[in-house]
Symmetry: D2
Subunit: 393 residues, 4 copies
């Protein structure tokens, strides 16, 4: 609580050396709101350029070793070739994200649609994604279900759950033994009355019904106002079903801002639960991913800043004195226990992270290193013509 933190060293955060965060291919393309998608110079035109950009983030941070793909946005003729390209760039391909929100057929739902033909189409799309996994070596199929309704009475809440359970079983049956199905929940949007998987309880119930390979994805922006997210993290870890994070941050709704920019203390509290449970360790099975929209800021620096923010929050969590914390908790010392936690949070961990990076042979300052690399200027110069990648392509 006092100035003793000056004695801390990079050794105290050494667990961060093996802590990797998966980045989304779509973060490097354009994104926006329903009102406008602003264009950005140098944005990738195809999955190869996205991976090239993602690799820059890993190059300067050493903490972004995998890239998630999104199908159909990242569909290529030869996924094996894409995986080899990624390996050449120093990264690997991560989770495969399905997409059931951009086909006119899905206007009233995909896996939950009243029409069995549309449900079958949506199931088939996921089976295609599993094929992509086999080609890329990916192990995680990530499903965010946009389905919902806009008006009371529009469809039966109960029947949609039943249809969803049936569709999920058909997808789950296609998984290989070492595959996982990661099921994401979201409070609202793109529908505004009901959402078919609106909360962690619904996601978990479907996972429990499916089997051990089904796990919950927690997107930090997908909750009702005021929801205590670290409680959900602890709960899902307790159930052995926290499969992955989609990190981002928000002030209002699913704002998809840079993780840690809106409420850095919340991010720290989340990472504290992770660290206390050992879920930050490589074999925990939790896939830490970013899922953000860089609507107005440059995308590669936005991703670098995001990686650094997660690292800083995790470093602070690693500095919390667990024994002192538990002792204060056990003795009912409310302010004392809170102070132990806050001592970790209030520490400036940037020097420690700089030290860690230098010990890995990297630049202490990833943002500066990227700026000095000239990469951004190069892609702005070279990527002219073609169609910039965005959510539509």
């Amino acid at each position: 609580m006092t100035a003793t933190d000056t004695r801390r060293t990079a050794g105290d955060i050494s667990a961060l050396a093996d802590f990797g965060i998966e980045v989304p291919s779509w973060a490097y393309g354009n994104s926006g709101t329903r009102f406008k998608v602003f264009a950005t110079a140098g944005v990738p035109r195809d999955p190869y350029e996205k991976i090239e950009d993602a690799a820059q983030v890993h190059r300067v941070t050493g903490a972004a070793p995998r890239v998630s793909l999104h199908i159909p946005w990242d569909r290529v003729d030869d996924f094996g070739k894409l995986a080899a390209f990624a390996a050449d760039q120093g990264v690997s391909l991560g989770a495969i994200n399905s997409n059931v929100f951009q086909d006119d057929d899905y206007k009233l739902g995909s896996l939950t649609n009243a029409d069995p033909k549309i449900r079958a189409k949506a199931v088939a799309h996921h089976i295609e994604c599993i094929d992509v996994m086999r080609a890329t070596g990916s192990k995680d199929l990530k499903l965010w279900l946009p389905d919902g309704t806009n008006y009371a009475g529009q469809d039966s809440i109960r029947a949609r759950q039943d249809r969803l359970a049936d569709s999920l079983q058909k997808i789950y049956a296609e998984l290989d033994d070492d595959h996982r199905l990661l099921i994401e929940y979201k409070f609202f949007e793109p529908y505004f009355y009901t959402t078919d998987i609106p909360d962690w309880g619904t996601s978990l119930l479907h996972c429990l019904a499916l089997g051990e390979k089904a796990q919950v994805v927690l997107d930090t922006g997908h909750h009702a106002p005021g929801t205590n997210i670290e409680f959900i993290v602890a709960q899902l870890i307790r159930q052995g079903r926290l499969g992955a994070f989609d990190f981002n941050s928000r002030f209002y709704a699913d704002d998809d801002l840079i993780v840690g920019s809106a409420d850095p203390f919340q991010l720290f509290r989340i990472m504290h639960e992770i660290v206390r449970a050992g879920a930050h360790l490589p074999d925990s099975g939790v896939n830490f991913m970013l899922d953000q929209c860089h609507n107005i800021e440059p995308k590669i620096p936005g991703q670098i800043r995001s990686i650094m923010n997660v690292q800083e929050a995790t470093a602070k969590a690693l500095l919390v004195d667990g024994d002192a914390l538990e002792a204060a908790q056990q003795s009912g010392d409310v302010l004392g226990a809170h102070a132990v936690l806050m001592d970790g949070y209030n520490t400036d961990v940037r020097p420690l992270l700089a030290e860690l990076r230098e010990s890995q042979g990297r630049d202490a300052d990833p943002i500066g290193a990227f700026a000095r690399s000239g990469y951004l200027e190069r892609i702005e110069r070279e990527r002219v013509g073609g169609i910039q990648a965005s959510w539509g392509a």
Copy 2:
């Protein structure tokens, strides 16, 4: 959707003849906010007077046949005698509500407290409540757990879940075969950082771990802003775990206003899910209860109005043309399906309910009947001296 509703008759809502709502003994005592509990003339001084008041609600509505008790607020020397008194008044005793929020020992938690002696005390209180159930013939033990923390780090979120699971098992083991343990969840208050059972998912997980006799209680005021409550209703029915409702209404937090006064359309949507699933029928196992605070309005009329509001919402739900609804839903007719639902909601069901009451030999107008009974004037005159019942006694 047009004026065809004029052809509707009380026969269309005949299921309401057997639909009973349990009233809480504490609604007849004083209640308020942390700022002030306003006194009210005529308020009961003991459990007998509370039951007397509750019986008036049943007398004029015919729909409030049971009274929930709260221990220790309703502790009496001889619960058998209290049950007999209730029977004389034409009502029966319903759920027994435990209380672990008013003892200084519980400042940092009861069933979740880090101190095993305090947990044991809280478990023992519930065993006392089970004894009361045996004496009164009550079948439902209702547990609202106030436990939580105010500051990050104050206690371990995970450890508290483990302690809670252990405490609940000890309580569950004491239940008789025909008893149920009803576990309520609440978003926040009286603690303001974590709540140990904050949502339906947490409540349900504990129920699933305990066994078939454990069921979830849904209090309509205990959710995050914007939460779709009818979705949760449908989900809990689908899981076979909707044990009970605590009805009330709110604009902001756990306001505990008269049910249906803040958002009557939401109440209708909830009752629509209930009716569609047949959960309004007597053998459904769902205990419909009120849990409200009449801070500024007279308490007995407040309860009568509440019963009528639930009846009106249910009547509207009963009027929804299920076949037309399903047909529109199946065909993807968004506006048509919504319109079928709204036709039920927009119907003025007051004449139908008046007719139903008259067919039961009751006054068509419960509020008027109570006003004309002179009961309120009599208790204001007679209940002088003594200590008025409130949450503290």
Copy 3:
């Protein structure tokens, strides 16, 4: 409160005969979320076709006499010709809506941008809109300012207010004597940290600084969760600055659902404040407008339903017994006053509105009348080819 409402007649809601609601041209084009804009058969390709559609709404309801335009979406070579076309169709052109959210220059703000050249461009756009007003005979310039920031520190909150005040003065100075500048506020979106006009207080302060011709626009979907909108209505009427409504409804954020579909009781409470203040009368100066997105439902029927929902809420407000209400309020009869209000709300006004429509020589059932007209089938057949109108065009 009892069944006396059966004595009510269309005469009780006769004020509705002169109550008109302005419809937005963009409601007839496609709209959606950032995830997807679903295509719809028969959607207009140009402003003329939009007006043709809007005229259908007026034809069957008799209550939608004006159409708002949006610049540049509705830019035509000859606005006088467009106004004449509208008149031929039986409607007139209403408010002119500016657009400063779809130009790459406005990525970091328009009227508040740190760059004076960009501010000047945004001011010039509004002056163009005023020219359109002169050509169309419109009297209201409606300004929804999307400007805001996504990250703390991104720009100076205070400096943006100063720039905004300056830009607004330049626009205001260009208004004709019989023009009004209607300034809308919005809680958030399309930016997610600060919004430059986030609440009624900010909008009103700018109006007060500008002068009498500046008035506030209240969009019912633009508030923080839980905000009491009828309070704001009453407050703005009290200040003489309620210029216009943008009606729609929401469960979560700026959902832009059909007005009255999410919380019909809230709409009634809003119209109750309007009616009590006489602000529903033609000379009140309040412009009642719709601003909605029909993402999944057919657009013309969606607009007809919206008009009917506002009419029904207003009819219910007109039925409230003002004398009885005031007497109960003055005497502190909480439940009695509430009951007087609810008696209006609980009345089924559909028969009265049917009667009113028939007395005007219209079909009692606008939805049915439109369906039977064959208009939808005709435009689906005829409007083939071209580019469907949406927010982009």
Copy 4:
């Protein structure tokens, strides 16, 4: 953004030497929720003991030079004697807080009540408070108006505003030339449908109508979920009407937790607006006050921690490089401007504050200094018998 902050010294935060925070007398008494007020050993029994406790906070922090009083809770026979006692203890008496929420007469409102006799009583109470100000030398009359309604229709929203305006004028007329009337707003509670001063806009309008001596109080816990408070701070400073803060923090509603404990980044952003406008300087006229409830933590340490949290947030705000920030903002460098701000926030200012305290001849560690003083043990030993102070007395 890098490790350059190690070069920072206490000189960079020297403005904190003159930055004082007013503490509330009632923070030292018991407080709680509607469910329970937990008792605490050593709690004061009268205003003198409260001031004695408050003086300890100033002794160890040097930053809490004034104590707010609450009437009637702090009513004494001789306020001059109380002021002299405070001076002896090294502190002075600050704002006088009125109380119109604990009298049965105010059940349906005080300054807004439909009954003119009750309004007159509430006005008279404020005039009594002004008399107390004359006796104590206080310059600020702080008015938090609890008034509101629970049910739609219960009272006229508009009429209540008119009555409020009239009541406020009567109070304002009684102020001395050097007095201020500070008007606080609150989103909800203790009423749950309307609140008569629910937002900054309403508070400001009444201040503008009254005159220069009326100013707005911003309580950080009194807003709708998601509200951007620093925007309101900037707005009120721009209008010259930010009279005072009531600091505390919250996750959900008006939780009244220790300031900075729930969202320390928000507190920093607020203090950034303050510092940028120079409003932290002694002559700014902004009265920085705490208003909190220490329900479960010890009260004096809770207040010390609160003072330190405000100091730390302010220190971080003082470290922000204003020139670099403005340059980045002007050039549209979104991530760069954000990074300049975050560099201040991420700095560990505890060593600087320790240095500042030592330069003032104080202990570097206020929490430790208080613990070592033995004060808490002494009052727990000595304050036996009598009635502990709480909100009721």
